[in-house]
């Protein structure tokens, strides 16, 4: 269980997060929506230990994530709109590099298995620079799954993907969800985000403005709720 309490990130008078509170149960998929500047990315960065909060804490199974950040990162997989891949290396070399960083024991077997799973088994020895955006994103999924993480952070993974590639990504997220992994997804796309979610949250100005179970809405109802929430937050 991920427990976020009073999370604040500020510099002087500028606030990115203002006392954010949130809980995510184990094995659920939470989708976070919100306009630009709502604090979604800042939240994900802190959750990934890339940035430190000014105040507040994130506990996972009761333990502060910064208390033993190295061990926590071992459980964490991140897929973002940036792929974290090196253009000049081949797909396989990229995966081998990252699996060395994670100290994965049966490296070659893991890399081969994942290349097959994301449908790049035949392209393993090609350089990443020759890949389409969709293929790169698939390789990026393989990269994030190398160490079999049970917590996944997905930061706008749909950016720049075509129809086919994003359907594939949705399929992957569904699969990960069925494996009972905890998933936190940030997206601008209401329909796609709602489709894979167990729960949804709307961020506004560094706080959770609305949260609910995803099953409660149809697409249309949710769209209405989202626009009302965002508009309501502006006027008060």
């Amino acid at each position: 269980m991920i427990d976020v309490r009073n999370l604040t990130k500020s510099f002087g008078n500028l606030y990115a997060l203002r006392g954010l509170n949130l809980t995510v149960s184990r094995g659920t998929c939470l989708t976070i929506f919100g306009p630009n500047g709502a604090g979604k990315s800042t939240f994900i960065r802190i959750l990934a230990t890339l940035s430190k909060p000014t105040q507040g804490e994130i506990r996972i199974e009761g333990k502060d994530i910064f208390a033993d950040a190295e061990q926590y990162r071992n459980r964490l997989g991140v897929i973002a709109h940036a792929t974290y891949l090196y253009d000049e290396l081949t797909a396989r070399e990229n995966l081998v590099f990252y699996s060395k960083l994670y100290g994965i024991p049966d490296r070659d077997a893991t890399v081969n298995r994942l290349l097959d799973e994301v449908g790049l088994g035949k392209r393993g020895n090609d350089r990443v620079r020759t890949f389409s955006r969709g293929m790169q994103q698939r390789l990026s999924i393989a990269r994030a799954m190398l160490h079999n993480p049970d917590i996944l952070l997905l930061d706008e993974p749909y950016t720049g993907l075509d129809q086919h590639a994003s359907e594939m990504l949705t399929g992957w997220i569904m699969k990960l969800r069925n494996d009972k992994r905890t998933i936190i997804l940030i997206t601008h796309d209401l329909a796609q985000g709602l489709e894979v979610a167990d729960e949804v949250a709307i961020f506004l100005r560094g706080r959770v403005a609305h949260s609910a179970a995803a099953g409660d809405f149809s697409n249309k109802e949710f769209q209405q709720l989202y626009f009302e929430t965002v508009a309501g937050g502006r006027t008060n």
């Binding site: 510099f11 002087g12 008078n13 500028l14 500047g37 430190k52 000014t54 502006r234």
Partner: protein, 236 residues
């Protein structure tokens, strides 16, 4: 609240003291202090040159100290003090270099020489020009502040290293030895000593006055910026 009335009062008192002190210093330097035997009237620049050097080093020391404090505590007030102090340091090191050249021309028959003290001051000046440029080319966010703090720490460690390496370079010492705490034969006449110490005290007041002034300015700018940002959010 834009102004804090207590610090405003301190600022006013300092301003008054400074005005009177400056008048006294001018009287001391040009009328009260006796003319130096071998150098003549040009020696009087010493009463501005040496206190400026003190303030320059003080400014950089404060900058480095507050940079360390900022990295540990992440309080943006510390960052503000470091920034403002470096600015004042650049101003006074410029004065040191210029007054030094004016003095050196008649005494050494040259504007400049690569003496360890001169060179160190010159490099110090470069280091903090770089510091100010770095601040200009990063955002006014926490990351920009962290970059500047890291550079200030490296730069302040560099200053003694520069001095040492130039002393090893060879015997090029031309700069007069420190008149205070120097050798026995390098003392000052009592009137000169009094004039010097008085000027030093006035320069210290000047430093603190400038600090307060600039800090207030920066605070006001920050408040204005956050107001602008809030307005922009409402209009969106």
């Amino acid at each position: 609240m834009l102004t804090d009335s207590k610090s405003q009062r301190v600022e006013n008192v300092l301003g008054l003291l400074l005005f009177l002190g400056m008048l006294m210093t001018l009287y001391n330097v040009f009328i009260y202090a006796p003319t130096e035997k071998s150098m003549g009237d040009v020696q009087r620049i010493f009463y501005f040159h040496v206190p400026s050097a003190f303030i320059a080093f003080l400014g950089f020391l404060v900058c480095a100290g507050y940079s360390v404090a900022f990295l540990i505590k992440r309080n943006h007030r510390y960052d503000r003090v470091a920034y403002v102090s470096a600015e004042i340091g650049v101003l006074f090191s410029t004065i040191v270099l210029i007054t030094g050249m004016i003095w050196a021309r008649p005494i050494w028959q040259t504007w400049w020489t690569w003496d360890p003290r001169l060179t160190t001051m010159f490099i110090l000046w470069f280091l903090y020009i770089a510091y100010l440029m770095l601040r200009n080319f990063t955002g006014e966010d926490e990351r920009g502040a962290r970059f500047a703090a890291v550079f200030a720490i490296i730069a302040s460690a560099d200053v003694p290293i520069v001095y040492m390496s130039i002393r090893w370079w060879g015997d090029r010492m031309m700069h007069p030895k420190p008149v205070l705490m120097g050798d026995e034969d390098s003392g000052l006449a009592p009137e000169m000593l009094y004039t010097f110490l008085f000027a030093l005290a006035v320069f210290l007041i000047l430093y603190f006055y400038l600090m307060m002034l600039r800090l207030r300015q920066e605070r006001t700018a920050e408040i204005l910026n956050s107001m602008k940002k809030n307005l922009a959010l409402h209009e969106e």
